[in-house]
Symmetry: C2
Subunit: 248 residues, 2 copies
DNA sequence: CCAAAAGTGTTGCAACTACACCCATGG
DNA sequence: CCATGGGTGTAGTTGCAACACTTTTGG
């Protein structure tokens, strides 16, 4: 009772899972957390406060994990099977035992949860990862190399990726994974790693430039013995014009 | 306590809203219910049992409302703003008062709910609508003529329609809105009403027939003073072959 | 000089659009 | 006969894929 004034009211049986994508070393990566003393990984999850929009809850989870605000977030699917955790009963027991040792209350792990899935696109270089209470390690995993995941988190990642591929061109999402300025070949590599296939440079360049959504800046000098590439910046206003012109 | 053995356990703060589409009089219709003694309409909603998958809950809601099973259902979005009901406080008060008169407990109307949105595609001629406790009238409304809706149900319908347009070709959904057999021009009208634009008959016909997903049956004789149209049946097996052949 | 970067040109394919036009047929 | 249904042909367009080729330039 003494602490009641500070008790946060969480909506029961509802969670938010946030698949965080980043681009690094020419590959698309997902941020994963490992439960303490186990080999089980998970995406970043959280709960929803009773006075909080779901989108806000997802933003909060993302902020807690990465320190970033104003990040691209998209809700993609809600996972609500009773047996989402089927085949993971042992996983539960193992995790509860291992984490329980550190004094964290893990009883919620065996409750039924309906989880609203979001994915986030972040500038890898800006992320400062904070672990949660139950995790001791984090990792940026290549999307084609996902380890054993908690519950149905593998399916959640797959569905997120499917939707990301989908929205990539429709919403010009690739730029959310890059720094402020980038070269054309970096952009092409983002496309290639997300779509999982090689693209022809000349055609890709033509396509992107014809959208008229980029501003070309000075060149990037790295001291290589060759011509320096141009840097580009994504122009939000131009992008809006472009997106509004695309028919539907 | 005497009734405790039969009490169903519902997940709190979670609801399922089901947008039911049908095709009638050459138009795409949505099934709406009107709250007793009010002018406020809603789509078909329900709650989720604690031992029930979300998809099952949606199927159950659909069955209760239409008497139909094994119907195409697709989850399309989850609505979770705290103020989903903003601007509808008066709506609440009005509805609670009006419906309260008939002895139905409506206290849940003012709770916060996270609603998982599904849409269903039904054969209009097979539906036998059952009202729920709170409604006294139902109506199949043209999608371009939606009345004042409960809470954010207008936004829910719009989002469902957007997704339906989207999945129409990808998943060959049009056939779910037609009877077992249908003519080519009926099919074309389904496409036209969903997409909201006229299509050129010859091109449409070529496109559909080239998919090789239909079986042509005998002609339909209605006694008109002109050539009778062919009837077609959708062939599920052929459709699967077609969909698996379409690249991505 | 030379390797990387940037850009142009062209060819061919596939899909779609818009029409013109023809044949079939029920009553 | 004739209104409706069913189908073919085709010309123009667009977008994209593939690839050859040229030009630029940092060090």
């Amino acid at each position: 009772m003494a602490k009641e004034y500070s008790v946060v009211n969480w909506l029961p049986h509802i969670s938010v899972d946030c698949v965080i994508f980043g681009f690094h070393e020419n590959q698309l990566k997902v941020l994963l957390l490992k439960f303490k003393n186990t080999d089980v990984w998970s995406v970043s999850g959280g709960f929803v406060k009773s006075d909080e929009d779901m989108d806000q809850a997802a933003s909060r989870v993302l902020f807690e994990r990465t320190g970033l605000k104003d990040i691209y977030l998209e809700q993609f699917y809600t996972f609500g099977d009773v047996k989402r955790n089927q085949g993971a009963i042992q996983q539960h027991a193992q995790i509860q035992e291992k984490i329980g040792e550190s004094g964290v209350d893990t009883s919620f792990l065996s409750d039924r949860y309906i989880s609203i899935g979001y994915y986030a696109l972040v500038d890898f270089s800006k992320v400062k990862v904070n672990l949660d209470q139950m995790s001791d390690v984090f990792s940026w995993n290549d999307i084609y190399d996902i380890p054993t995941m908690f519950l149905d988190h593998r399916a959640i990642i797959d569905k997120a990726l499917e939707r990301l591929r989908w929205s990539l061109d429709q919403k010009l999402l690739a730029f959310n994974l890059l720094a402020e300025t980038f070269t054309m070949s970096e952009l092409q590599q983002v496309y290639e790693t997300i779509l999982g296939k090689k693209l022809v440079r000349t055609n890709f360049q033509r396509k992107i430039l014809s959208m008229d959504i980029l501003v070309r800046l000075e060149k990037r000098y790295l001291g290589g013995a060759h011509k320096a590439p141009y840097l580009y910046r994504f122009d939000v206003k131009k992008a809006k014009v472009y997106l509004s012109q695309v028919e539907y």
